[in-house]
Symmetry: C2
């Protein structure tokens, strides 16, 4: 399964592509960020982001796009931009017929480190170890996107097996 | 000037097209809502909304798309959907090279009724009068989209004249 993880953001949107399946070693296919200038009109920023994400989807043809589920507990201004960036990611995937799955930050932390309360450094250390990298990709949005993709390979894999078992039992 | 107003929403997204200029009678070109089913995946809802808004933009070729500026004071769940729907509207406009302008709810009320604290009924009554309609379009999202478009014709027109005057004074 090839998963494109998206850590949504307007200024920096993390994109990480991971290939793997439950119980097998994971491979990093690509990682990066799509940046848009803060002084650009919001509509043009969303369009730039769309172009960047579209290019990643066309290049890597993922089976699934995994996006961080946005909550609004945090800073109100940031959340609006994050919600809008995540909308662009979901839209690009849907337009290409690619399944979209959302994972909360604590689901990602739990999947990657074993603890839903892990800090950024612990998540980064596990991403480095699981993908056998020499260092965590910078900026942190890139590493977070890889963590999302890893989370989906494992959680999505478990969900798929459950669905298949339920189908078989009918 | 032809303005396509968008009252953003995932369940009902109001779309209203108004033609006019400052000091001349306004004309309603079209009005309606794009609906997406609440039980559909969020990614697919955003894609349906994109298709609906894209169709409206291609049909009416507006000079400007005016979108309600989303705030997060209100209900947290609703705001996320509204932010995402507004992102889709801005994206569709930007992709077609159409300028996007945002107006706050109180700017719209002030422009249409003269008071930033007007209620829904007052706004609807003024939309009916200004566009010489027999009744306010239903649902209210449709009327609100027309109010946004009217607001932009007047405010945008004033802004443009100011910019032209500043250019001329250089």
């Amino acid at each position: 399964m090839r998963v494109l993880g998206v850590d949504p953001g307007l200024t920096r949107c993390g994109v990480g592509v991971v290939e793997g399946s439950v119980g097998r070693p994971l491979t990093m296919v690509d990682v990066g960020v799509v940046r848009t200038p803060a002084d650009l009109d919001i509509a043009l920023r969303l369009h730039r982001l769309e172009e960047g994400l579209e290019a990643a989807v066309l290049k890597h043809r993922p089976d699934v796009v995994a996006v961080e589920r946005v909550f609004s507990q945090h800073n109100v201004r940031t959340v609006m931009g994050t919600a809008q960036a995540s909308a662009v990611a979901m839209l690009v995937a849907a337009r290409h017929g690619i399944a979209v799955h959302l994972h909360t930050p604590s689901e990602v932390k739990a999947a990657v480190t074993g603890s839903g309360r892990a800090d950024k450094a612990q998540v980064a250390a596990m991403v480095v170890r699981l993908l056998r990298l020499s260092a965590a990709p910078k900026p942190v949005d890139a590493t977070d996107a890889l963590a999302l993709a890893i989370c989906h390979v494992w959680r999505g894999g478990a969900q798929n097996r459950l669905l298949q078992a339920m189908e078989a039992a009918r």
